[in-house]
């Protein structure tokens, strides 16, 4: 396990697309180290022959009939959007013109 310093927090915050203030970076660096130290206990458990549990349910491949039904109207789906354009959510361009 790596030592946690501010570059780790900055890297992970970038992956998670969360802007942090300087104060948050400092505080989270210390707190993340404490929590990771506590969860580091997991390494002590011998799990060489143990299968992981992703879900406790005794279900695999739930199937249903392929039935057409109404979804949300455009109007309902767009009602909470911060910015719309006709029938679309409006976002900033991600491709540059050339």
């Amino acid at each position: 396990m790596t030592a946690i310093d501010r570059s780790v927090v900055e890297h992970v915050a970038a992956l998670a697309r969360i802007g942090l203030t300087e104060e948050e970076i400092v505080r989270f660096t210390g707190q993340l180290a404490v929590v990771l130290d506590a969860v580091g206990k997991l390494a002590e458990v011998d799990t060489a022959s143990i299968e992981p549990t992703a879900s406790v349910l005794p279900l695999v491949n739930v199937m249903r009939e392929d039935v057409v039904r109404h979804g949300l109207s455009h109007e309902a789906a767009l009602a909470n959007a911060p910015s719309t354009d006709g029938e679309f959510f409006r976002v900033q361009a991600t491709l540059e013109e050339r």
Partner: protein, 488 residues
Amino acid sequence: MDLPRTIVDAAAVLRRREASSRELTEAALERVARDPHNAWLTRAEANALAQADAADLRLAAGEAPLLCGVPWACKDIIGTKGVETTAGSRILKGYVPPYSATVVDRLDASGAVMLGKTNLDEFAMGSSNENSAFGAVTNPWDHGRVPGGSSGGSAVAVAAGQAVFALGTDTGGSIRQPAALCGVTGMKPTYGRVSRSGVVAFASSLDQVGPFAASVEDAAIICEALFGHDPLDATTLPLPAEDLRRELTAGVRGMRLGVPREYFVKGMEPGVEKAVRATLAVYAELGAELVEVSLPSTDRGLAVYYVLQPAEASANLARYDGVRFGLRVEGPDLVETYRRTRGAGFGPEVKRRIILGTYALSAGYYDAYYGQAQKVRTVIKREFDAVFQKVDALLTPTSPGVAFVLGAKANDPLAMYLNDIYTLPVNIAGLPGISIPCGLSEGLPVGLQIIANSYREATLFRVAAAYERATEHHRSRPPAALGQRAAA
């Protein structure tokens, strides 16, 4: 007018025509309007009165379900069509869902009356309700103390007699722990019993909706309305409808009840241990055989939980990007818009968990954290499976302490996380658990947690009801609620 304490009482009042649903609803709304605990985020008065009038017509026609006309409170992480749903977060302020959660649809169909939406820790992340973007909630037993969390508002609504029952969600104890700290009954069903469709997702392999109530019988009545397969949630099990009250009066004579020794360790307040030990003695007097059992990996539960839950949360909360709903804080380009939106919209605990979860899932650490946590989850589940070969149910404290002073743990995440050490193994293993009032310590409520094997909710209610019949603890009311009643 006094609001009836239980669903059973309310149903009787309505059927004897002593009050209409409109009268009960108006009385409840009036108490909600005077709520001194910040337990409510949205009052849905128009919705409630319309539902009450419809319930009165249905009651007059006869053949109405027990819940018909009974006022209830909905945790604000459960989507309600046409009624703002914020999950306690700035990022969802103003969000009005275009559809209701399946659990809300089912209560609507039963004729129950939704009064409004209750306060919670942001995205259900917390054990004190102090992480709400809309202010902390106070405990009706002592205004200087927390109600527990994350479903703090729902617990207070029932404890303070503002609603007859409430719904919460429980990912690591978020129903049972606030129920314990507020002196009411709170229950988490087996994973897969209740639909999560329309509920704001937190940690999808752990989340489950469940009831707060003033009695065990009421909790069972609510579960009967909620349980069942939902085509909109593939993780709901296709089990037949079940009478969950069939064993309520069967008693515990001859039952084997396990007491896990790992749940009585240092860190528990002496007053809590004393109350829980006294409760064990009551079960022995009632004829149950108490068996000491061992769940050796209990102390790994916290570590498993604080890897899996933030990891799942970091993925689920990726949807809050300022595009389709919620807050948007515009930046010079799309990535910067995401960063600013999420930086401004999420509170500190949510950011902390997203960062922890993203770290645990990131390249180079996935196997050591997430993969290993999933394997230790298997170990914990197997230990419960083995214990339930020997006993019918387990008796434990719900929380190591009583309600703590506001702010006492706010700057120490790990101390806060330790509130849930007795409840979160139940979510890890997907089991049903209930917290019932079992006495006071320093004038504050203590909860007994009962855990049963998967799908054995009827057994859970049987064990809980036996204690409830033998004692008066479930009738204890906070001084504040009594004061509010005297003033009314």
